[in-house]
Assembly symmetry: C2
Homo-oligomer: 207 residues x 2
DNA sequence: AGATTGAACGATTTGTTGATTATTCAGAAA
DNA sequence: TTTCTGAATAATCAACAAATCGTTCAATCT
């Protein structure tokens, strides 16, 4: 079985190289197979299809990212607002960076979420769990107060949806997107209610 | 000049019928021209191109919608929360309805915002103006309090972006979308801050 | 003159063909 | 038996041709 795993790894590694070099579309199964010194047909004993290889790669990469997010969500020295800020900004920056600097990775992400909506959904769920952790901790410290944290996390994701879909960015620069995310976040935290605004002003005056 | 206008109207009417019957793509300029008993070439004395006819139709229709929205935004008997609710829900329902019941109109809207980003932008601006009116009136009554209303309106639009793009709905039903919009709206109004939540509870207890 | 036409032009779309490629599976190799 | 191969298959893609359609404009009409 260890043998099987190492062959699997070989396939993933070869595909990773090819995908990031030539792109998902321009990589053929025959090429990946020959990189691992096997026939194309044999690949299918290890993966159901080409897309599943891409998914394995994406999952691995995304898991690392998720760990990073989790750390941001529970930073000890920062208050809930700052932690939420770090979390949301990190996601925006990652997406923007992939789009700008790594078109191959972006192509892969696009194909996967197109063909496998379940995968995109799984990512959202994972991030929602982290948001719930953040909200839990924030309530414990008396910073935020929400009735249903699972639902609230869903609403935060809904309200920041725009920052996850480059198609909606219409050539906005990263600084502009960041300013906008900052604004939405402040609205989500403080709301439109007067006392929140007063509190915000009091804090700013104190600084 | 009155003559010119009536010819223009004839073109718009003919195109409106054809577009809503067969769709924008399946309607030819020659057909519209023959409906108005003129040659295709003559159309171009009244409109720069096919897309401009569609834009004229969309503008007319959208202006009516905008008037409706404006009324909702300033309803005398309702508080700011209710008026914002009515405004956002009306837009969601209109979009959903177009998508479900009127694929021709949806096709037209899609083509226009694709080919004429300026037009989509103009619509957003108009709705933003209405939002600003709403925020102004709300501040006057001491309901909401925001520093920069233009910016706040932009942020409200940003946070409710998801409900404007059916591509992001992934087969969600209207009731589910409405529940989600309701949640986002509550978050925007009350925020995550504790006093807002307390106030909400106090109000609910009083009812 | 100004208004209108409709043939001509070029861009876009549609349809078709051939090649490429993902996937399968009967059989060979281990 | 289990593991693997590679030719066969079917789906997808690319390239090209044909047709369609938006748009223009020289010629015609009023």
């Amino acid at each position: 079985m260890a043998e099987k795993d190492s062959i699997r790894d070989c396939i993933v590694e070869a595909a990773k190289k090819r995908f990031s070099h030539f792109g998902y579309g321009k990589t053929t199964m025959a090429e990946v197979a020959s990189d691992c010194a096997m026939s194309p047909g044999n690949l299918y004993r290890f993966f159901p299809g080409k897309l599943d290889i891409a998914e394995a790669i994406a999952t691995e990469d995304y898991s690392r990212h998720l760990e990073h997010l989790r750390k941001l969500a529970v930073q000890p020295g920062k208050d809930a607002r700052e932690r939420l800020h770090d979390l949301l900004f990190e996601e925006l920056r990652r997406t923007y960076h992939k789009l700008e600097k790594d078109p191959r990775a972006y192509e892969m992400a696009r194909v996967i979420s197109q063909e496998r909506p379940k995968f995109a959904n799984w990512m959202l769920e994972n991030e929602r769990k982290i948001l719930v952790e953040l909200l839990d901790e924030a309530e414990r410290r008396g910073e935020f107060k929400t009735a249903d944290k699972e639902f609230t996390a869903e609403m935060v994701q809904s309200a920041t949806m725009k920052f996850r879909y480059p198609q909606l960015w219409s050539k906005l620069t990263l600084p502009k997107l960041e300013r906008e995310l900052e604004g939405v976040m402040n609205l989500l935290i403080d709301g439109l209610c007067p006392h929140a605004a007063e509190r915000r002003q009091a804090i700013q005056a104190a600084e």
